[in-house]
Amino acid sequence: MSVQTWTFIVIGGTFALYIGIALATRVNTTSGFYVAGRGVPPIANGMATAADWMSAASFISMAGLISFMGYTGTIYLMGWTGGYVLLALLLAPYLRKYGKFTTSEFVGDRYYSQTARVVAASCTLFISFTYIAGQMRGVGIVFSRFLEVDVSTGVIIGMALVFVYATLGGMRGITYTQVAQYCILIVAYLIPAIAVSYQMTGNPFPQLGFGARFVDGPNAGLFLLETIDVLHRELGFPEYTAAFVPGKKAMIDVFAITLALMAGTAGLPHVLIRFYTVPNARAARWSALWALVFISILYTTAPAVATFARVNMIETLNGVPYSEAPEWFNNWETTGLISFEDKNGDGAILYSGDAATNELTIDPDIMVLANPEIARLPAWVVALVAAGALAAALSTAAGLLLVIASTFSHDLGKSFLLPGLTEGRELLLARIAAGGSVIVAGYFGIYPPGFVAQVVAFAFGLAASSFFPILVLGVFSKRTTKEGAIAGMIAGILFTASYINYFRFIRPEAGADEWLFGISPEGIGAVGMLLNFALALIVSRFTAPPPEDVQRLVEEIRLPGEADNSM
């Protein structure tokens, strides 16, 4: 059977599964729609959180980015896992104990202020829309590459699917589809990684394989990482494993970006909301553990995939006459993701760290997507990778969609604009909001604003500099006042947003020597976060302490106990 037939079968099968789950998990209460009736077991929530969290970027792009960045790729590996430690220790159990439905709601209650809630709700919408556009785009790209349909058709199919299970099943439907999507995406990620690791090093564990020796070929007996470092030196790239050498990010920047990504992870509304779905605070802690376990399986494999792909790519292409290039090279050339320009006219592919002589241009996304073909794995594995990439994109899109819907119907609708809303009406509003957001997200997927990639830095920076500090202070510092929180949030957001805006859009040509302390826009959220913390603490000292009942609320959420969530 051809790759395309396999792809149709595998993707069709997974989609039927998602729809089946949606039908089986329909809901008709707001509690079911927003927080899956709080009945999700910790392991299931861990899997759902993992799928929710790992987006098209984690699945498709991350390993490829690392394979070009070498050591510096650590910012993603640590940044996107270390945040779970913060989440587990500082936020998840307390937000669960507080109960209710959204993160903005917590901000509003804890800081006894509708303004705080509306600011939080606006940040939530901005972060989530930014993020979801990228997911829809990912769906479209997978469809167009593997099924040869147009990107727009792909986006529309993806939209229709998410529309069905998000509006029907709400959080309950999304949770159980995400569990299935996690299983599909992790199998799809591991099979090629294990196969390649075994082929190259004889070790079936990719986590160990990339520190092992080649079993055969010209480098038999040499360590993989040592070989890449040698190749990099010969070709004029900075060494793969070297940390802060010229041509790579500086130490302070790596530090700041990692911090911003960690704090951003812990402050992302679609991740936080997942912890509202478990039965109690204790389950929230265990569920954070399971989430990180499931995420780690992919995240410890990714740097191995990056290393294998890097060696494979250089060894199979560099110095090879173009006419003898492997078949996958020509297959992917048609997508424009990889291209060859014979600058010196010798007919052979020259790969070099020197832009003037380099003849090979490679999009990082190709490293995961073309991996099965490079390793000559059977057609069904290629199809599985396509289904895995779709699972990653769709699961994240659905999680974001629910956050957007609940922010509209619950934070802005019920509490702010239409206070008298009955439960049935609120549920209807939530479904309409979910449906409407799918359409907006789909539109941005088909006509992506040119700056999607840039605004992802924005999403993390904003989550780190707005939510994270005031959520943590909300639990750990009873004395933090409404004025402190609002001042902190606004200062954090304004500072981070203006910095990113200035260096991304107004003066993108400015280099590291003009950056504040040498910190790039990607990492500036870390500074915004510190600013938010500092200002919130200082302003709180000079304003009247929070009212009695708010202080009691804080005392209460600090105790795990069975939460009373009868609302």
């Binding site: 779970y84 360590f223 494993t241 553990l289």
Partner: protein, 85 residues
Amino acid sequence: MSKNKRDIAAYWRANLRLMAKLLAVWFVTSYGLGILFVESLNRFNLGGFPLGFWFAQQGSIYVFVVLILIYARRMDQLDKEHGVD
């Protein structure tokens, strides 16, 4: 709230102590071993890995998992000891 105030205060202090210890390890492994001291550690090898590189791309992630595991287990115990579960 039926629990007496002293118990609750002791529970909260124990929680903060545990958190402080775990976050110290979190910081030292990720930012210390993985970033600040990565170059000195890279002079040593762990099999085919430069040591600092291994901490940055593998070790730190394993440590994160273990930290949350310890936290979840210890907190379950604390909940019981202080009767707040």
